[in-house]
């Protein structure tokens, strides 16, 4: 694998990102990893029955990057991964806009799927991001979902 492209790319930004560019970066100069799995999360137009118009994402600068790097490091201990990219946007986002991208390359597809889902599951419960939704009933901080806590817990009992 080329030494010009670092194996981990962890970015917090307000700007949008390009899914295709990110995949190209994961694949460029990388003929060892046959599998690439990506996850992309976007702002949905609905949540718990409310019309959502957009949201504001707050984070804890410094801790966010550390926390994501910790999650990626843990994934690297569990699976033999090639390259990993995690991009998370902050600030104001409209319906349909991309929020988060996770990309993992691997020799084997099973590991790429598992590692990508692991990173998302822990990002959801460990990384210091908070969403405030703008709905037709005003602004409201999102409540954390117990389903997310449960998903992360399931990895520990494996």
């Amino acid at each position: 694998m080329s030494t010009n492209i670092p194996n981990d790319r962890i970015v917090i930004q307000t700007a949008d990102f390009d899914h295709g560019d990110e995949v190209n970066l994961l694949e460029s100069d990388n003929n060892e990893d046959g599998a690439v799995v990506t996850f992309c999360g976007r702002v949905r137009n609905n949540n718990l029955g409310l019309d959502v118009k957009g949201l504001t994402l707050e984070h804890y600068p410094g801790m966010t990057e550390k926390s994501l790097q910790n999650i990626v490091n843990t994934a690297r201990e569990k699976w033999s991964l090639g390259r990993v990219t995690v991009i998370h946007r902050v600030g104001k986002l409209l319906i349909g806009e991309q929020i988060v991208f996770v990309g993992v390359t691997c020799k084997h597809r099973g590991d790429a799927f598992a590692a990508n889902e692991f990173i998302m599951d822990f990002l959801k419960v460990k990384a210091p991001f908070w969403k405030k939704e703008l709905t037709n009933q005003g602004e409201k901080w999102l409540d954390a979902k117990s389903s997310d806590t449960n998903k992360a817990q399931e990895w520990k009992s494996e």
Binding site: L123, W130, W141, A144
Partner: protein, 82 residues
């Protein structure tokens, strides 16, 4: 002195982004919380919310974790990114 940050709904409830605790020796997270409430009694309800998370030097910690002068302490609601 310990720097203290608040985020998201907690930041809004306290109407405060950042404050400091004047301590010269180590305290636990729980003691730090009580000292903050002592200086700002109106913060009691928000700061004793069971669901709050705590980080010291940007790592998640439990209530019995030791905070030293010059550490960075933060309280915030459960995270909702992704």
């Amino acid at each position: 002195m310990i720097k203290v940050n608040f985020f998201a709904a907690l930041r809004e409830a306290l109407n405060c982004n950042e404050t400091q605790l004047e301590v010269n020796e180590p305290v636990t997270v729980e003691q730090a919380r009580l000292l903050l409430i002592e200086s700002n009694p109106s913060w009691a309800k928000s700061l004793t919310n069971n669901s709050l998370l705590t980080a010291v030097n940007q790592e998640l910690v439990q209530d019995d974790f030791i905070v030293n002068p010059n550490d960075e302490l933060a309280f915030f609601p459960p995270v909702t990114g992704g």
